[in-house]
């Protein structure tokens, strides 16, 4: 995965990490957040259930991002979109 997976749209960055499992979910989220400015939003699409908790927890612990919202977009396939604000 590279920069092509991050699209910038009005200070909202999108990253699709479906198929990634922990800890790579956090690694990709962190790398995306490092490139953003404080206050900007990362919409993170993922399908690894444990990451729904782990990624926001680690972002908070390292003081790089704050969870704003969790949306379960596909219950059957278990896909979530996390809305994370860069700190």
């Amino acid at each position: 995965m590279n920069d092509n997976n991050v699209t910038i749209f009005e200070k909202i960055h999108k990253l699709d990490i479906r198929g990634k499992v922990c800890p790579m979910t956090f690694v990709y989220a962190k790398l995306a957040l490092e490139k953003m400015n404080p206050g900007e939003i990362l919409l993170l699409t993922l399908d690894f259930p444990a990451a729904v908790k782990n990624v926001p927890d680690n972002c908070k612990r390292q003081n790089i991002g704050e969870l704003m919202d969790i949306k379960e977009v596909d219950k059957e396939k278990k896909v979530w979109i996390l809305k994370i604000k860069k700190i």
């Binding site: 995965m1 590279n2 800890p23 790579m24 956090f26 690694v27 990709y28 962190k30 790398l31 490092e34």
Partner: protein, 269 residues
């Protein structure tokens, strides 16, 4: 340059660290480290720095692998006996991480070549086995304003000091003065050495290099770390910069040009 997906995977456990991240990993990939000696100390240093993704590593050694080296010099294997240590090291390190540019220098480190060898380095690691060479590394690195770490190991004991000339911390010469004038102390071959002590001390030296490049944590500066693995005593002793030190003091001289290091007289066992 962005990290490739292979680099992200390879260094993921470092990127996860709060103190490193992608930004720190890129700093490591952009850095150049010189390791003097690829024996007992240089082996773990080179392994860990190569694995950590230091961009360029220069290894300086003139020696060949001997059977009696193998209990502690973990870069070298049984079938490397009589091979140049730099060649043996290159083969292992390149296999471990082809992402790293490994450069080898097959020369005895002397006053007339040391500055050329060290000049592009962001950090220098002493893994030599004799005090004159350690003093030469100290004097040249101070002169070039490059941070470095010097260590010594014998029996079950080790000692380490890191010097950052950019912050004017105490140098090796501040602590020991001109010990090259004294009788050489007993070397590994006579005193003996447990194989793992350079493994532990060298690993700490690698940690010093990584921390210095990333500017994280506390270095072993203005103090020395002493390890005694028989009694499990780990102690720091404070040391201070000597304002009159001929290498780093207020009126420092170009000591490399004028000093007689007696490198050839030192015990290279």
């Amino acid at each position: 340059m962005d990290l490739t997906s292979e680099q992200i995977e390879r260094y993921s456990r470092q990127i996860v660290l709060k103190e490193i991240g992608g930004i720190g990993q890129k700093k490591l990939l952009d850095s150049k480290i010189t390791i003097i000696g690829c024996g007992g100390l240089g082996s773990p240093v080179a392994y860990y720095l190569t694995a950590a993704g230091i961009g360029s590593i220069k290894i300086v050694d003139f020696d060949v692998v001997e059977l009696s080296n193998l209990h502690r010099q973990i870069l070298h294997f049984n079938n490397d006996i009589n091979k140049k240590k730099t060649q043996s090291a290159y083969e292992k390190l390149h296999k471990l991480n082809p992402d790293v540019n490994i450069e080898v220098v097959n020369e005895v480190l002397l006053p007339n070549n040391i500055k050329e060898i060290l000049k592009d380095s962001d950090f220098v690691i002493d893994g030599s086995d004799n005090i004159p060479t350690k003093m030469l590394i100290n004097d040249a690195s101070v002169n070039l304003n490059i941070p470095f770490t010097i260590a010594g190991v014998v029996r079950f004991n080790g000692q380490i000091i890191t010097v950052n000339p950019q912050e004017k911390t105490a140098c090796y010469r501040c602590v020991f003065g001109d010990i090259t004038e004294h009788e050489p102390s007993m070397s590994c071959s006579q005193a003996g050495i447990i194989g793992l002590i350079p493994g532990i001390v060298g690993s700490i030296q690698a940690n010093e290099a990584i921390k210095c490049i990333l500017k994280i944590g506390d270095l072993i500066t203005n103090r020395m770390l002493f390890l005694d693995l028989l009694k499990y005593r780990f102690s720091f002793i404070k040391v201070a910069r000597n304002e009159n030190c001929i290498a780093c003091g207020d009126n420092a001289i170009n000591v490399i040009e004028t000093h007689d290091y007696n490198i050839g007289d030192a015990c290279f066992e």
